[in-house]
Symmetry: C2
DNA sequence: CGTACACTTATTGTATACAATTAGAATGCA
DNA sequence: TGCATTCTAATTGTATACAATAAGTGTACG
């Protein structure tokens, strides 16, 4: 048995879920996991809502066993929480959690941007830039495209930073901060475009310090807005 | 239900509630989780070893269901990995993983130390210092005490940094770096004492910059040693 | 009325049977 | 022998029954 081939990182799992057409036939627990992920992201399941396992399993067309497996994976990612002998609850990211997560992102993701400077594929970078500019023009603002674009920009340098561990942690952090932003920062989304462009510019110039600064500024900007509008 | 049966029920409820206040009544999956955690830490289960669910379940005296639940928790923490339709495998932290993890720790844990400067309980700090000094004297070097002491020192400022998200990430990172250190850096353990003292000194002086530097130096020192002795 | 207690119901926790899949052995053929 | 193929055994994936627990409801008693 091969020791190097057995790792499946969270980032890779996410990527795999995007291009599902290539994968043969996901098993029941994976289907449930992907479905639940989307239900939470799309707020079909709202924060604070408790989950009755049998009902949800029936809805998704699987039995409780793979459903619970999916819920446990989601718990590991912080999308749901659970107390012993009590139902799973969809995580509600409060301001405190959000700010703490953003402060970690500010440190870590800025470093990732710096590490990635000079290592990102220029074609992918230009594609990302084009999408940001296109998104900026949409009227009304295309929320769904926003998150795809956000993923594209951040994924660009996170996956190019050369540190898989760091990438995995950022994947998890971004998963939870996104929950908060979807629920409470909808007004702020449009403004991210120019901050994203600033990051892309720094990456294209292979300027590690500028990339770090641009990413940190982006994070700080979100922090400031959250404190002002929610706190 | 007759009177004696009612009495017995009451007594059992009372006992249960008493026990709940003492220990949170560990269910089968939690027992399995704790047992496995220790088995991996103590290298009863060695890195790379694949796990046959039924056999291990029998060993632990639980059925496969709670065992799998435990394994999934451990997968979330990075102690085991799994590919679809293949057995769980005890994670083998290779040099690459270790260095990447340590680089993240160097960034994040240094920041945690800085944040904690001036916030740690002085009594706990002195206790930790005493244990470090005591450990340093042990002959032969007490490996078990080493890890308890390591946990005490790092836990001291990680839990005092005021950012629970950051603390959680560091818990997970330290879990995996410890796997590597137990397996491959046994010789290096003794040297951590004086680095730990340096961190404690900075914390006691409430000097954030010194704490950050001391922690980063500690991480870098481990990185250097790993590269030299393993690479 | 209100409170506490027993009782019923709903839900999570666990065991186990079975299905699907994988790995390995045996077999056939060139 | 070497290779591919088919069968067999072992193991993981899923469904489901049942046990333990928590939540809700009604009732007796003060």
């Amino acid at each position: 048995m091969d020791a190097t081939a057995r790792e499946r990182t969270k980032a890779e799992q996410a990527k795999a879920s995007v291009r599902r057409s290539a994968t043969p036939a996901p098993n029941a627990s994976t289907r449930a996991y992907l479905a639940l992920s989307n239900m939470i992201k799309d707020r079909v399941l709202k924060g604070g809502q408790s989950i009755v396992e049998q009902r949800l399993a029936d809805e998704l067309g699987v039995s409780r066993t793979p459903l619970r497996e999916a819920l446990q994976r989601l718990e590991g990612e912080g999308l749901v929480t659970k107390l012993s002998n009590q139902p799973y609850v969809v995580r509600q990211v409060d301001l405190r959690d959000y700010l703490q997560s953003m402060n970690v992102r500010k440190i870590l993701e800025a470093e990732a941007a710096a590490l990635a400077a000079g290592r990102v594929d220029i074609t992918a970078l230009n594609e990302a830039r084009a999408h940001v500019l296109e998104l900026e023009q949409s009227e009304p603002y295309d929320t769904h495209a926003h998150w795809a674009c956000d993923e594209q920009v951040h994924g660009l340098f996170i996956n190019a930073c050369g540190n898989k561990i760091m990438a995995d942690m950022l994947f998890e952090l971004r998963t939870t901060t996104r929950l908060f932003e979807i629920a409470r920062l909808a007004d702020r989304l449009r403004r991210t475009s120019q901050e994203h462009i600033a990051i892309l510019d720094a990456l294209e110039a292979s300027d590690a310090n500028a990339a770090r600064k641009a990413m940190a500024a982006h994070a700080q900007s979100l922090i400031d807005f959250a404190v002002k509008s929610v706190g």
